[in-house]
Symmetry: C2
Subunit: 487 residues, 2 copies
């Protein structure tokens, strides 16, 4: 398939996904009612639950996506405990990592997403509860972290052993989900694809995010590396407080190309881009001779709460295709890295396992200091996702299945919690402006979606909490866990 075709298909897929989404959202609303009415689930038609008629399985709580779209599609549901297949390990989950990829999955903004409903999540840590046939090197009781293809955000998950890594001494569950995916990606970007070496300069987009922070820490293990980091103005103070050694902090949405050229007229040696769209071309043009541009995400696809046709299409159409002859003339490299494709489609699990080992080694040498943003109950996943969507987090956002949900509107939270809430509600002005611009462009196509979005802006957690059957009385100390250092 030619790339031209590929892009056209992708654009077409974006449209059809949009339609599908509408339909699914519709279907979903019905299902949701079903769920809240009968107290359990209308989701039991899922293959996993097929055996249910024979012998009623034990149930567990899980974060389920009931249809692609906004936060409303994310539900806490009771699901049958997973069956353990050959080569798999059953993990009792103690902590789940939230990654930007989860937002894209929720919106249906990734290629070949699974059929809804399904359990979300690509990262969790916990204890080995049971071992499938043919699994070696693991024992019941082992503390592990895993990168399964979906299904990580539940009390229990069965994961093929190739995606499971034993925790080294001293690495807690929280730290494990803080570093495993982010630092493994950062390690591969810096040391396996870009071959970072002494004296080089790097431009990192979304430097306040999980991978961004991992890149900064790992890059600074190499002598004389200069880091240009871009993120929204609102995060600059927090990053300085977190002692992130970014040499030049630049503002998202500013003319960062000119800013960088003022400091380094020749440009930079490495560009790490998780945004895509027009940033691709800007990044490529900023490269010095022998420079390397690396695309490892397409988060510019995510603008509103639900997938916008135009933001997705822009991400495809704005990106210039490059001839190898141009690279030959200019002495430049272009690369892409997609961990999900590599691990689950391209047989890369062994490679990733070796890299995880290196990351754990660096942790044990004290070269990695996990940066935790906040911990949330499964029931508060929507709020946690909104925080990441608003790019308000500095460091990792974690879900903890044992944590009690935040008190919901009837009992307003107090103290630190209250302050946090209000700062989240008060959107960063610049970001708001930017989003409005986007929305204007997409107005025609997304009018209906926007309407929905507005409705969703009102706290919706109570509804979710009501469905999960675990709506224990508000525990005011729950939030104390947030921001707590886990090591």
């Amino acid at each position: 398939m030619s790339e031209q075709q590929q892009q056209e298909n992708a654009a077409a897929a974006a449209v059809s996904n949009g339609d599908q989404q509408q339909q699914q959202n519709g279907a979903d609303n019905n299902k949701e009612k079903e769920v809240t009415e009968n107290g359990t689930t209308g989701e039991s038609a899922e293959p996993v639950a097929e055996a249910e008629n024979e012998a009623p399985k034990k149930e567990m709580r899980a974060v389920v996506l009931t249809g692609f779209g906004g936060l409303k599609s994310v539900k806490i549901l009771k699901k049958p405990e997973p069956a353990l297949n050959e080569g798999e390990i059953l993990i009792r989950v103690k902590a789940c990592g939230l990654n930007f990829q989860d937002l894209m999955v929720r919106q249906g903004a990734i290629d070949s997403p699974p059929k809804c409903p399904f359990i979300l999540g690509f990262e969790c840590a916990g204890d080995v509860e049971q071992i499938g046939e043919g699994v070696e090197d693991f024992q019941v009781g082992d503390q592990v972290v895993a990168l399964p293809e979906y299904r990580a955000w539940a009390e229990l998950v069965a994961v093929p052993a190739k995606y499971v890594y034993k925790l080294p001494k001293g690495l807690s569950y929280l730290d494990a989900v803080t570093i495993t995916m982010n630092y493994t990606v950062a390690y591969i970007l810096l040391f396996e694809i870009s071959s970072l070496s002494q004296g080089k300069s790097i431009l990192v987009h979304s430097v306040g995010g999980g991978v961004g922070q991992a890149v900064v820490q790992l890059a600074k293990t190499v002598k004389d590396v200069t880091i240009f980091g871009i993120c929204s103005k609102g995060k600059h103070e927090a990053l300085k407080e977190a002692n992130a050694p970014v040499d030049h902090l630049l503002e998202k949405g500013s003319d960062y190309v000119s800013e960088i050229r003022k400091i380094s007229p020749e440009g930079v040696d490495i560009v790490l881009d998780c945004l895509c769209g027009e940033e691709c071309n800007k990044g490529y043009n900023l490269l010095k001779p022998m420079g390397k541009y690396l695309l490892y995400g397409t988060s510019n696809v995510v603008t509103g709460e639900t997938k916008g046709f135009f933001s997705a299409a822009r991400c495809w159409w704005q990106v210039d295709k490059v001839s190898p002859l141009k690279l030959f003339d200019e002495n430049k490299s272009l690369a892409g890295f997609n961990l999900r494709h590599f691990m689950y489609l391209q047989n890369g699990a062994g490679h990733v396992k070796r890299t995880v080992d290196k990351v754990f080694q660096l942790f044990q040498e004290g070269k990695i200091k996990p940066l935790l943003d906040s911990t949330w109950a499964l029931e508060d996943v929507a709020e946690a996702m909104q925080k990441m969507h608003d790019r308000k987090n500095v460091g990792k956002i974690i879900l903890d299945p044992s944590m009690e949900p935040k008190p919901k509107p009837a009992t307003p939270a107090k103290g630190k919690d209250k302050k946090k809430q209000s700062s989240e509600e008060k959107k960063d002005n610049d970001e708001k402006k930017e989003e409005k611009k986007e929305e204007k462009k997409e107005k025609e196509e997304e009018k209906k979606e926007e309407k929905k979005e507005k409705e969703e802006k009102k706290p919706e957690a109570p509804a979710a909490a009501a469905t999960n059957g675990a709506g224990e009385p508000a525990a005011e100390e729950a939030d104390a866990k947030e921001k707590e250092s886990s090591s």
Copy 2:
């Protein structure tokens, strides 16, 4: 400038260069007569020679390109000795390296070539004869190797100090020009761009050439590396004799993609392509996930003795442009390396100097074994170029200004020399067939050129020898130097 434009311009340039070439060849023939008649040169209108009226400068022999085109345009002429400018080093040349790039320059098949006439050559070794103002770290008498931008093939050359490297102990002039450019390129390809590591597989085109052999030797310093090497069938025996540790020797022009897939169904980790054209797409498609394709030459442009419009255009048009999004989906990298651009246009001399140091270090550790194909007198440069054009060399072809030219037709060479001559004249059948195919396609455009080519197939060295004023009596032992190990 968009790439589309760039390619169109390049194609247009290919056409206009073709015209230019015809004109220059015409002008050239006249000049040549002038030269042979007055015994010196009609070239003294060159800027270097401006001072001639004031005080007649000393002269030196040099390999001069009098116009872009076939072998006839390469002349041995008397030229004024070069003036030494600030920051330059004057080198008395003992050995010159012939690189494929020199063939492309002769044909005018490179971007922004200098104005004819000019002295050819990018690589030479010799003794420091004089030092310009402001030059540090060098002394008269130092043995050095240099990579100047043209002008290396002469008895004397003035080179900016940044392109000059002192020879380490034990490295002879011949070995120096055998390894410096080729191993520096190979080192950058393998260790700075592709980051070769244990267990990887590499596909190398033109594996019998100078860079090809350097790649093989350097790659084998890493554990468990598998090398797929492609070259014309005629070289396979010689490569086995030379003990080149190529794991899988494949035939040029064969369906090497299927051959490789049979051995390694997943493909290869690294593709090093100096050919361009359709090999780009084949190479890209052969990459495993996390694989890297690297274009470092466009020698497919060179088909006939003079530049063909169609071969040049094909090299541009056959190459698929790639979107960074495709690289993201497939986990692949694309890169280009052009030493000439890097050193002379992109301020890369410092970087290259550091890499040359690493190459010399490897030589001293015994990890590099220079592979010399043959040594030639300046007067025999046309024959040497023809050998490289026919891909008959295994290892480096060197010009030695102190060497006496081969006996010309009146006194047919004997022994080893005779055998060599005949094997060169007898073209490899497969190659001949391939060339005929090419020629058919280019027939319409190149009828005139082909005619010329046929004329040139007859030995033309005597004419060249007659022009250089150094046509000493045939020294039969001259060829003994050929194939002689220089260390």
